[in-house]
């Protein structure tokens, strides 16, 4: 038996539920993905913030779903594949939820972001020197 045949044995004998995946019209899916790309690029030209957000991120989610479903065949893979991919996504959101308050809020329960830290972050973001000198000189006076 050739190695080629072995490869197909392993494909045919697998118990994944799709020895040979169902192959839809991939050209049609690619055309839809390109159309969605064009819409996401055109969205900001309308100058409406909510439209930009929807066409940028809403379409990104749709495109990712289409690639996962039709190109990666996740819908017909073993159920637990979906479970551990979703688990990884949940961990991502947990990371975001756990750290976002420290980054995005100036204060919370029993804590306040020091003014020097907030100031130095703003200065760094806009690529301007921090007031009081480089590297946040003058931090000591706030301690």
């Amino acid at each position: 038996m050739t190695q080629h045949a072995h490869a197909h044995d392993s494909h045919d004998d697998d118990q994944s539920g799709y020895g040979h995946a169902h192959h839809p019209n991939y050209w049609k899916i690619w055309a839809i993905l390109c159309l969605l790309l064009a819409i996401s690029v055109a969205g900001p030209f309308l100058g409406i913030k909510i439209v930009t957000l929807l066409t940028a991120f809403g379409i990104a989610i749709v495109k990712a779903y289409m690639v996962a479903r039709y190109f990666m065949h996740i819908d017909i893979a073993a159920k637990y594949v979906t479970y551990f991919i979703v688990t990884a996504l949940v961990f991502m959101f947990l990371f975001f939820a756990g750290t976002a308050p420290d980054v995005m809020k100036p204060q919370g329960r029993n804590w306040t972001k020091p003014a020097w830290l907030d100031g130095s972050i703003h200065a760094t973001m806009s690529n301007e020197p921090v007031e009081g000198g480089e590297h946040g000189e003058g931090h000591e006076e706030h301690h």
């Binding site: 392993s10 991939y26 900001p44 991120f57 551990f84």
Partner: protein, 195 residues
């Protein structure tokens, strides 16, 4: 002589309801979600809380980002067509699609490293310019490293596939490649559209 003699056990074993190779690629993808998810999550936090991020993002080149997105989507099409031909046992056509996919990856990397980044660096936007550009070069750099890794693996797999050997690998590298495409699908609006 056993059918699997001389071959790695993972090639023929079906573990947990699917071939071990496919299971391994899905595990790699799950761990990569956490890596890229951390990067993207951090970017969103800073982008939402600091207007300066938007000001810096205004300098990225949407045209180049769009061209590269189109290149990656098209290379994903080639990868899945390769899977289709591999399923049908047509090694030479599967290999041809893999080479086309690799060409797409090289085009993507070429546009990024020879056109986009040199232009930005020439305009003074380097990795140390500001947190936005640090994120930009880090995220795009890690993504580009994945593109180059994928191309390298494809160039190893394609000659064997052309001879009709180890055709299951065409699907496995395709899975990885589509994931690289999905990551870019999210980086593109974050860095090039939402300005």
């Amino acid at each position: 002589m056993s059918a699997a003699a001389g071959r790695p056990i993972a090639t023929t074993r079906s573990s947990a309801g699917m071939p071990t190779g496919r299971l391994a690629v899905w595990w790699v993808i799950a761990s990569e979600i956490v890596i890229f998810g951390g990067l993207i999550g951090s970017y969103i936090m800073f982008r939402l809380s600091h207007d300066a991020f938007a000001q810096q993002a205004a300098h990225t080149n949407t045209l180049i980002g769009t061209i590269n997105t189109l290149v990656l989507l098209t290379s994903s099409l080639a990868a899945v067509l390769g899977h289709k031909y591999a399923d049908a046992g047509d090694g030479p056509r599967a290999a041809r699609q893999l080479y086309l996919t690799a060409l797409g990856g090289l085009t993507f990397a070429g546009i990024k490293f020879l056109w986009e980044w040199p232009t930005e660096i020439h305009h003074g936007f380097t990795i140390s310019s500001s947190p936005f550009w640090s994120f930009y070069y880090t995220a795009c750099g890690i993504h580009a490293a994945h593109v180059i890794a994928g191309v390298t693996i494809m160039l190893f797999i394609a000659p064997q596939a052309k001879k009709g050997l180890e055709l299951q690998r065409v699907e496995l590298i395709g899975l990885y490649w589509h994931f690289v495409d999905v990551v870019w699908i999210f980086l593109f609006p974050l860095l090039y559209i939402a300005k």
